[in-house]
């Protein structure tokens, strides 16, 4: 606001002194009015629920004995709770595998689509992006059926080679079953972001590189990838946050494999179960905040190690 008032300054000295205060005050008010609608929604739907959850997480409600203030006891419990820790360990392991896989696939596809121009480019781009347009819930249900050994295609495919189909909903293979669903869903989305970043590169750079004798592979490695590094880091942060908050897909597949996917499978599911299944809103809130802390630490650590390459945040 101040810069605007400053620019308006050139008037006669007397006038300026007289009206400056009123104008400033009036513009101040108008500014607040413009921010108002956003501010109200922001406070009502983000800050207030967060504050309330934080408040809840400091209490403990027992079936016998009622509610009492316990300060950080719920957090102490969360970080010693095998259910929370195993869930957190699962999403961290999942992130370590799923994110590189997704980004590698997205990057490869983006580079290919960028380098090859043919009739099929637009069509392939749309097809690769399509899974992202399918709601995660529908996607999870669909894969749940595809994984079925009695009416999914796996039995036929494996039967053709005389093998028995793997059960991707079993304890030992659920990791890969989920990995496949998540990659299918998100790789196309990341591809579009990277593709858009590639389109933004000045083509004269390629020309210069070609004149210096660089091949397609070298152009991709030495020019394209370094130039889209900020976009790569952006999608890494997106996928890191998304994976640590893993919820939709396992929650849906739970209807098909409750034995494999327990109620504490991921920290978010555990928080949901505590709050809405067991009416333990206090502990559920504490788990949510503990997870929030974990996400913050992971993202911060990641941004710290990539601080030289990023151009945003």
């Amino acid at each position: 606001m101040t810069s605007i008032t400053e620019k308006r300054a050139p008037r006669t000295h007397n006038e300026k002194r007289k009206t400056r205060g009123t104008i400033q005050r009036r513009e101040h008010l108008t500014g607040w009015l413009f921010v108002g609608p956003f501010g109200v929604v922001f406070l009502a739907f983000l800050i207030a629920p967060l504050a309330y959850a934080l408040y809840l997480s400091l209490f403990q409600k027992k079936l016998i004995g009622g509610t009492s203030f316990v300060l950080f006891d719920n957090y102490v419990k969360a970080f010693t709770d095998p259910s929370f820790l195993s869930g957190a360990w699962f999403v961290i392991r999942f992130a370590l595998v799923a994110i590189p896989v997704q980004i590698a696939i997205a990057l490869a596809m983006a580079l290919i689509l960028d380098a090859v121009t043919s009739l099929f480019t637009r069509f392939s781009r749309l097809m690769i992006f399509l899974p992202y347009a399918i709601p995660t819930v529908i996607g999870a249900v669909m894969w749940g059926f595809l994984y079925s050994r009695s009416f999914g295609p796996l039995t036929d495919v494996f039967g053709f080679f005389g093998a028995t189909a793997p059960d991707f909903l079993s304890k030992s293979l659920i990791f890969y079953g989920l990995l496949n669903i998540v990659t299918w869903q998100w790789a196309g989305y990341y591809m579009i972001i990277l593709y858009a970043a590639l389109q933004g590169i000045d083509p004269t750079l390629y020309e210069a590189a070609r004149m210096d004798g660089a091949g397609r592979w070298q152009i991709a490695r030495r020019i394209k990838i370094p130039l889209i590094a900020p976009a790569l880091i952006l999608i890494l942060v997106f996928s890191l946050i998304g994976t640590l908050q893993f919820f939709n897909e396992p929650q849906i597949l739970r209807y098909l494999a409750a034995g494999t996917i327990g109620s504490d499978f991921t920290p978010n599911m555990y928080a949901y179960q505590q709050a809405f299944g067991l009416a333990n809103f206090n502990y559920g809130s504490a788990i949510s905040f503990a997870l929030g802390g974990l996400v913050f630490i992971c993202v911060y650590a990641f941004l710290f190690f990539t601080r030289k390459r990023r151009s945003f945040l």
Binding site: V40, L63, G65, S148, S150, L256, F276, G277, L278, A279
Partner: protein, 446 residues
């Protein structure tokens, strides 16, 4: 400038009032959005949540016959989905209906949160003789009554006649015979004999109770004290028995109520299905017994541990309870006692196999007893199996943290099926887990 500011103010006020409008919704307790149509507009209305498939008819029958109160019914989801909503309403202190359908094993869970009303004083004596003692015990905590029994789930063994004939098996009457028959079918290259689903812990609890386990002892007169016995010898024996069947490859470990399991039942992948009296109705609804498998099902009594002292157990079964958020508990209790208690509703329920009625006027009705059940190819299943099982049922004491117990049990059955723990170890871990939870919740564990 002035007009613009006025506009901005108006816009902001509009946005703010929109927010207010959103928050003034009263949710589930609102009587204006019933699924049924209330014709007697001048009578007081109580709201209700229930998920019986023929609930529309049941409510219409009640409203038509009653001149004191009318029921406004909605189906907010089946089982767990409804409990989550009810639980949230309890925590919020508002939003619950007046009358609610709950499975009997959940009653103590809600009762201990003071979410249900003791309805013994609201005309229970008039209907006391209409239900058996076991049914009353299941809806009671101590002497207080927290629900009106509607349907039960006496357990039995559903089996495939075609598979039994092919492998020359007669229905096993003891669990030892069950295992021998399973081995015989396996040795002859036949299908799996049964299934242990990790997602049906209530069934495992019933099977443990059959051998003499008493998982919980609890009295509302001493609400802070609870007995937890999840790893006594009977509980361990039953878990070890089922773990053994899995280890020997005699039964499957597929989660039940899933498309995968149902298609297995239709395909004849399982020779038996240990389940409750409502199972035929459920299976019919899921498409079982209507194609190539028509007329292949039959039912026999649940196998016993000691044939000289048979024990009958129950899985599921529901009741109508009055919630403590109700402002008209007396009228709500009238509805709870009257709904699904008239002959027309009951007859519709049992002829369509939606419920196994606990109301003795239906249970003792010769037409019900002699019914030739279509799903069982005309077998008189009620007379031969289910009615005797229901009559011998003694009732159970359920825990006040049913959700936690069942979740923990699912986890252990899943571990057991994967072979990472034995049945006995699973029982010990379950005991440890549930005891810890009970202590954390402030109980003194006996």
């Amino acid at each position: 400038m002035k007009t613009r500011r006025t506009l901005a103010t108006v816009a902001m006020l509009a946005a703010a009032s929109g927010l207010v409008a959103c928050s003034s919704d009263e949710g589930g307790s609102d009587a204006s959005n019933c699924t049924n149509t209330i014709t007697k507009q001048d009578l007081p209305v109580v709201t209700m949540w229930a998920w019986y498939p023929n609930m529309q008819l049941v409510v219409d029958n009640f409203n038509e016959a009653n001149n004191e109160v009318q029921v406004c019914w909605t189906n907010v989801g089946q089982g767990g989905d409804q409990y989550d909503k009810f639980q949230t309403a309890i925590s919020a202190g508002t939003g619950a209906p007046d009358v609610i359908m709950v499975e009997m094993d959940r009653i103590p869970t809600f009762q201990i949160q003071n979410a249900l009303v003791d309805i013994s004083g609201y005309g229970r004596d008039a209907v006391r003789a209409n239900y058996g003692d076991g049914a009353w015990k299941d809806v009671s905590v101590g002497d207080a009554v927290y629900g009106v029994p509607v349907d039960g789930g006496p357990l039995a063994m559903i089996y495939r006649k075609d598979i039994f004939d092919k492998y020359d098996i007669t229905p096993p009457t003891t669990w030892a015979e069950y295992e021998q028959a399973a081995q015989k079918v396996k040795d002859a290259g036949g299908p799996l004999f049964g299934d242990l689903g990790a997602n049906v812990p209530a069934l495992m609890m019933a099977l443990q109770i059959q051998k003499g386990a008493a998982p919980f002892t609890y009295d509302s007169a001493q609400p802070e004290s609870i007995g937890v016995r999840l790893n006594d010898q009977a509980s361990k024996d039953v878990l070890d028995y089922w773990a053994g069947l899995v280890r020997k490859g005699l039964i499957g470990t597929q989660d039940q109520f899933t498309p995968e399991y149902i298609s297995g039942v239709i395909n004849g992948n399982y020779a038996t299905y240990i389940s409750a009296a409502w199972a035929p109705g459920y299976l019919t609804g899921a498409g079982v017994g209507q194609g190539q498998d028509t007329g292949t099902f039959a039912v026999a009594p649940l196998p016993q541990w000691d044939p000289n002292n048979p024990v009958q157990v129950n899985w599921g079964g529901s009741a109508f309870s009055v919630t403590s958020q109700s402002k008209k508990p007396e009228l709500a209790a009238k509805a709870a006692y009257g709904l699904y208690a008239d002959q027309e509703s009951l007859t519709d329920g049992w002829t369509n196999q939606i419920i196994f009625p606990l109301n003795l006027t239906a249970l003792n009705n010769p037409e019900f007893v002699d019914l030739k059940v279509a799903f069982f190819d005309g077998q008189q299943a009620n007379k031969e199996v289910y009615v005797p099982a229901a009559n011998a049922y003694q009732g159970v004491v359920y825990s006040p943290f049913g959700q936690y117990y069942f979740d923990a049990m699912t986890k252990q059955i899943s571990e057991m099926s994967a072979g990472s723990v034995t049945g006995s170890q699973a029982a010990d871990r379950l005991q440890e887990d549930v005891t810890k939870h009970a202590t954390e919740q402030g109980f003194t564990v006996r």
